[in-house]
């Protein structure tokens, strides 16, 4: 057991550090994000600029094939880069979906010409991608999606609605999964495409979340035409393609940002309760210990995963555990911190509230973390079935024609 880098890893770490010192700025506070310093369009333009520098330095597409501008580096390099970037203000939320999910899907299913056309542009940040998967009636049960694709000569005509699409309002391209055969059983009637987000018939609307922020979009597709040459995988085989995309999501989903044990501990040392400092209160100490133990457990579990990655193993579904623990914990910590602030806990004014209202913000954003990229419940199913090897639920929707299945009330 030791925590030191191999010579190769240490060399890469130095390379990443040198790049960041030269091209990135340190964060001004623990929770500063690219978007909070550079909102809206400015953020996107600056992010593209940074991504181009990253690509030129060989620090983008680390595990990609060299043929498409990647480095074919060991997976541990991605972890090292993320560790080094943690202290810096670097763009997040612009390119991860394109580079981590869309491009690997293209690598698996697109033509060589298409890969050479799209991959380098995505890598350099010139083109941004989004993922048109979830629908109002198909979230955890993605295969229940209803967006229709109807063949028309050499093209397909798409009608339907997608939702929870990060970055759709600025994306240049998208991957899309549709229902091409409603008479087939649900997993067998899907077909997968990629398309330009500039195609006629696409309308994007921002979704306002309970936090007041808008990270996601609804995307309406009305008679959108996609050439058949942009189909990925065979007609009716779209579910298999979507699984390829989602397998890559697990590698992409990052750590949660927001106040955690450290911030709650600092607050407890600073705030006065009815009987003295919060940190001296037995009930507070017990809660702090519970959060600390879980925080460290996730931290060292990640080190175990990194050890596996560093040996060349692929992280398995056990990696889902981090979000399953951290997302509910973030919500609990936010709520408990506000309890410590007592009557003053309600205030969200950043200049008034302790820690610039980070806990109040987390109270309103953390419910989303428990749902996005796999709800707590779905993650438990994944661990139950793929780690513990327990049987799948009895399904009533496997063999029936999709159009005979009951649908949600609207």
């Amino acid at each position: 057991m030791d925590f030191s880098d191999t010579p190769d890893e240490a060399g890469f770490r130095n390379e990443a550090r040198a790049f960041l010192e030269r091209h990135a700025e340190p964060k001004r506070g623990a929770f500063e994000t690219w978007q909070s310093r550079y909102p809206d369009r400015e953020g996107l333009e600056r992010a593209k600029d940074f991504q181009r520098k990253r690509a030129e330095a060989g620090l983008a597409g680390l595990h990609w094939p060299k043929a498409y501008g990647g480095r074919e580096a060991p997976a541990i390099f991605q972890v090292i880069l993320a560790q080094e970037e943690a202290r810096y203000l670097v763009p997040r939320g612009y390119f991860e979906i394109g580079l981590g999910m869309c491009m690997p899907t293209l690598f698996a299913y697109a033509t060589e010409e298409q890969r050479r056309r799209y991959a380098p542009a995505a890598l350099r940040g010139d083109e941004v991608w989004c993922q048109l998967f979830s629908e109002p009636g198909a979230g955890s049960d993605l295969a229940g999606l209803r967006t229709r694709a109807v063949r028309d000569g050499d093209a397909w005509v798409i009608n339907g609605q997608k939702i929870w699409t990060s970055g759709a309002h600025w994306a240049d391209h998208a991957i899309l999964v549709t229902r091409s055969d409603p008479k087939a059983p649900k997993h067998k009637g899907l077909t997968f495409f990629f398309l330009s987000m500039k195609s006629p018939g696409i309308e994007t609307r921002r979704i306002k979340q309970i936090s007041g922020q808008s990270h996601f979009n609804e995307v309406y597709l009305t008679d959108v035409r996609i050439p058949d040459s942009q189909r990925l995988g065979a007609v009716g085989q779209g579910w298999g393609v979507a699984i390829t995309t989602l397998m890559n999501e697990r590698l992409t989903s990052g750590e949660l940002r927001g106040p955690d044990f450290e911030e709650l501990f600092a607050l407890a040392r600073a705030i006065e309760l009815e009987d003295g400092p919060a940190i001296a209160n037995a009930a507070v100490r017990e809660r702090l210990a519970d959060y600390y133990v879980r925080t460290q457990g996730v931290r060292w579990s990640r080190f175990r995963t990194m050890t596996a990655i560093s040996r060349g193993d692929t992280p398995g579904p056990e990696n889902s555990m981090g979000k399953l623990v951290n997302a509910p914990k973030a919500q609990d910590i936010a709520s408990f911190a506000m309890d410590l602030l007592d009557m003053g806990g309600v205030v969200t004014d950043k200049d008034w509230a302790p820690m610039r209202a980070a806990f109040q913000e987390s109270l309103l954003s953390s419910p989303g973390s428990r749902i996005a990229a796999g709800t707590d419940e779905i993650l438990k199913n994944i661990i139950a079935e793929r780690v513990l090897g327990l049987p799948q639920d009895i399904r009533v929707d496997r063999e029936a024609p999709f159009d005979q299945l009951p649908a949600s009330r609207r």
């Binding site: 030791d2 501990f265 702090l288 460290q296 623990v325 438990k380 049987p391």
Partner: protein
């Protein structure tokens, strides 16, 4: 980055699992549970012959001179099978206390015999219910003899040597003493406990010859260090036990049919098993980090040990109680093995002090680190 046990350490684990599978099956454990036998003497002899009792004892004192990572590996396997032997008292507490504070003569006298499995040791601290503190310890030492009543003392009825916490010459601070339990003035009475696979006693000392272990007045400090080290090793026993309880629950849920299907296909059971798994994995990771801190004698050891202690104590009890729940009615019969873990989980959770107390200690240590 290599946050894992080495191939050699894993080979040791496989060897230990195989040996214990043969010599510490639940049939063997039940022989101790169902009779007045205080511990499994054959298993104890076997474990000593394998060299496990001397794993972390230096060769100069008759040990194998491996290290703590190897001892952690063995601890996990002992915990998995609920081994009914006085291993933790002798190896984690007494040997560690001797290594930390023993005089050269004390180490030469006792460590080779511990390594060889010839003696059993125990630590006599508690004097009744409630958290033991220097205030609650009434046992007194004067003129190299001690007098007082200690209970419960794990393995106190079978041990050959005890480390006793007492107040020397009326001092407020605790001091530690080494006592040969065959000396005159020692009276021992077996105490029944929640886990009969491990033996406990009340030990009365009436003017018993004792020699100081470590400097006078340093008892509390020394115990804290010994308990930190033992906490890491017991955490591995707890992780092994929690894994065994999860494995049992999984096995049973896969084979038990209700409403026309295995109960393992119901989300109520699946999510229960995942909760057990997550608690276990967090505890395992915290234990690994504490093992690293123990094996390198790192400054992080006190925080890491308390973290591992809390994490493993809670994970083991959670897994043990939900294992019974998964088994339904059969789970609370004497016949099924679920209760072996339920008992041991509570015992290991109290033996070095409750999780409640360790949580408080953890925060005290984090405060010290932060200021």
């Amino acid at each position: 980055m290599n946050f894992d046990f080495s191939p050699d350490q894993k080979a040791l684990r496989d060897q230990a699992r195989k040996f214990l599978g043969e010599h510490a099956s639940s049939v063997r454990v039940r022989r101790i549970l169902d009779t007045d036998e205080p511990y499994d003497r054959d298993l104890w002899r076997g474990v000593a012959e394998m060299g496990w009792t001397g794993t972390a004892i230096p060769e100069a004192y008759g040990g194998a001179g491996f290290g703590y990572l190897e001892l952690c590996v063995i601890a996990e396997e002992l915990g998995r099978c609920v081994a009914p032997i006085p291993f933790s008292s002798t190896v984690y507490l007494v040997a560690e206390a001797l290594l930390l504070a023993g005089s050269e003569a004390q180490k030469r006298k006792w460590l080779p015999r511990i390594a060889g499995g010839e003696v059993v040791g125990c630590l006599a601290l508690a004097e009744g219910a409630g958290a033991p503190t220097p205030r609650t310890v009434k046992t007194r030492a004067a003129a190299n003899t001690i007098s007082g009543t200690k209970a419960p003392v794990t393995d106190g009825d079978v041990a050959d040597v005890a480390i006793v916490a007492a107040r020397a010459n009326g001092a407020a601070e605790l001091s530690l003493f080494l006592v040969d339990l065959s000396s005159a003035g020692v009276t021992r009475t077996t105490l029944p406990t929640v886990d009969p696979t491990r033996s406990h006693a009340q030990v009365v000392f009436d003017g018993v010859a004792a020699e100081p272990l470590g400097a006078a007045g340093t008892g509390a400090k020394l115990l804290e260090r010994v308990f930190d080290r033992a906490a890491v090793l017991v955490a591995f026993e707890q992780v092994g036990g929690a894994q065994a309880a999860l494995d049992m629950a999984r096995e049973y849920a896969m084979g038990r049919f209700a409403f026309g299907r295995p109960i393992a296909s119901f989300q109520a059971i699946k999510h229960k098993l995942v909760d057990m798994y997550v608690g276990l994995e967090l505890a395992r990771s915290n234990a690994y980090y504490a093992a690293w801190a123990l094996s390198t004698n790192a400054a992080e050891l006190p925080v890491a040990a308390a973290t591992a202690r809390v994490s493993a104590t809670e994970a083991y009890f959670h897994a043990a109680k939900e294992n019974i729940q998964t088994h339904g009615g059969m789970g609370f019969t004497w016949e099924f093995d679920c209760h072996l873990h339920y008992r041991r989980a509570k015992l290991t959770g109290l033996g070095l002090g409750s999780a409640r107390r360790w949580k408080d200690l953890l925060i005290t240590r984090l405060e010290a680190q932060a200021s």
